[in-house]
């Protein structure tokens, strides 16, 4: 059994393509739940549909009180923060934006770190703002494992850089290396 229980992923500008490739490369047997926040203008639904087409795992748009399941990818719906509850389900919130964002990566990462502690993997991809930096810091403080896209490979390096400034990260990787890394960690 893996020592990890869940993966959270945050992406913004320049991250959509990467996310599609990442989810496409995760095998159907991937054993952990994956929770995703991506900032885009398009609605969550079109987003999760686009991702669902690519992925071999099931991809759904997050619905309030939906159970978190292994091997299921949940994408935060547009206009809502997505949080993890102790009891193993997600809840949504329309509270104020964090780093100009709703959904916010910080909000997902912090609530997930509260529940999963050191059994959580956090992944930050390309992005043009600093949402995710505080969340990843908090995740690290709770003993979680950070994985960050090498800023040199990112269309918008602001987000990965902001994370690296605040956290001690062993896994600074090219995006195409992330799926395999996650599969290994999840074993």
């Amino acid at each position: 059994m893996s020592r990890y229980k869940a993966v959270v992923i945050g992406a913004s500008a320049g991250g959509f393509e990467l996310l599609v490739n990442l989810l496409e490369a995760l095998p159907a047997s991937f054993p952990l739940p994956v929770l995703v926040v991506i900032h885009t203008a398009s609605s969550g639904n079109t987003l999760s549909q686009a991702l669902a087409k690519a992925a071999s795992l099931s991809v759904v748009e997050g619905v309030d009180k939906q159970t978190i399941q292994q091997g299921r990818i949940v994408v935060a719906p547009g206009g809502y923060h997505m949080l993890v509850e102790d009891e193993g389900y997600i809840s949504l919130c329309v509270g104020e934006r964090v780093c100009h964002s709703r959904p916010s990566i910080d909000v997902l990462f912090e609530s997930a770190a509260d529940v999963y502690g050191d059994k959580l993997i956090g992944v930050i991809l390309s992005g043009a703002n600093r949402d995710g930096a505080n969340g990843m810091k908090y995740l690290c403080d709770q003993g979680g494992l950070p994985v960050v896209q090498d800023p040199a490979t990112a269309v918008s390096p602001v987000m990965p850089k902001a994370v690296l400034k605040q956290c001690d990260v062993e896994h600074i990787v090219k995006p195409e290396e992330i799926p395999e890394l996650l599969v290994q960690l999840a074993q």
């Binding site: 639904n45 997050g62 619905v63 309030d64 009180k65 939906q66 159970t67 719906p77 206009g79 809502y80 923060h81 949080l83 993890v84 509850e85 102790d86 009891e87 389900y89 809840s91 949504l92 919130c93 329309v94 509270g95 104020e96 909000v107 912090e110 609530s111 770190a113 509260d114 529940v115 502690g117 709770q142």
Partner: protein, 274 residues
Amino acid sequence: MGTTGREADEIKVLLEAVYLRHGFDYRNYAMASLRRRVHKVLDESGIKQIIDLVPAIWNDDKVASDFLRVMSIPVTEMFRDPPFFIELREKVLPILETYPFIKIWHAGCATGEEVLSMAILLREAGLEKRVRIYATDYNDQVLKAAKEGIYSMDKIPLFESNYQDAQGKGKLSDYYHARYDQAKFDPELLSNVTFANHNLVTDGVFGEMNLILCRNVLIYFNKELQQRVFRLITDSLCPRGILGLGNGESLRFSPLARHYEHIDASLRLYRKKL
């Protein structure tokens, strides 16, 4: 871990105190966002520990009302999720039209934007005169704003574009007067509306409603409380009454789902079975 152990205990004590002293029952709110709110109150008040909020909230009405304000999250907009309003217009109003008199309940109406949107929809459908709208929230502050129907001009561009996306029949400016930096909506729109304080957690059933909108309120409750409130809502609907939820909400995970059929599941509109 954050929500277990000591912090969880402190939050428990705090919520008990808020309930005993002020009657607001947050004990079954969803913990993850509640926790963020509690930390926000801490940040704003300069108080360091959650447990120290207890005497502050007990003795100081200002801290108590700040707590309520932060917990309430009255974030809303006119014609939020325009496709929902298109569906209301096309599928729901024709059903309501068959009743001689129509009763609508907005539960958790916040500052009233959703109520105004409904009033505009009803006027454009010529149903205005046959409707009584009940608009409730447990936050008196927002109810007061809702009654006034005045919004900052900064918000109007978003409201206007939502209205257009919702296939409104005119221009939003047909319904308000701009004065300085504020938009005052036609008071006639609210003439059939009764605003009232109602707490979904601690107050009772609301009467035989034909349509209930309870959008983006249930997300703040844990599963157990959601069930209780779904029960209250179901009991407040007339037979074949209609329920509309927020875009991120669903009846799917509730045992009460069997009492409803879908009008449009993706748009969160449900109809109570006989």
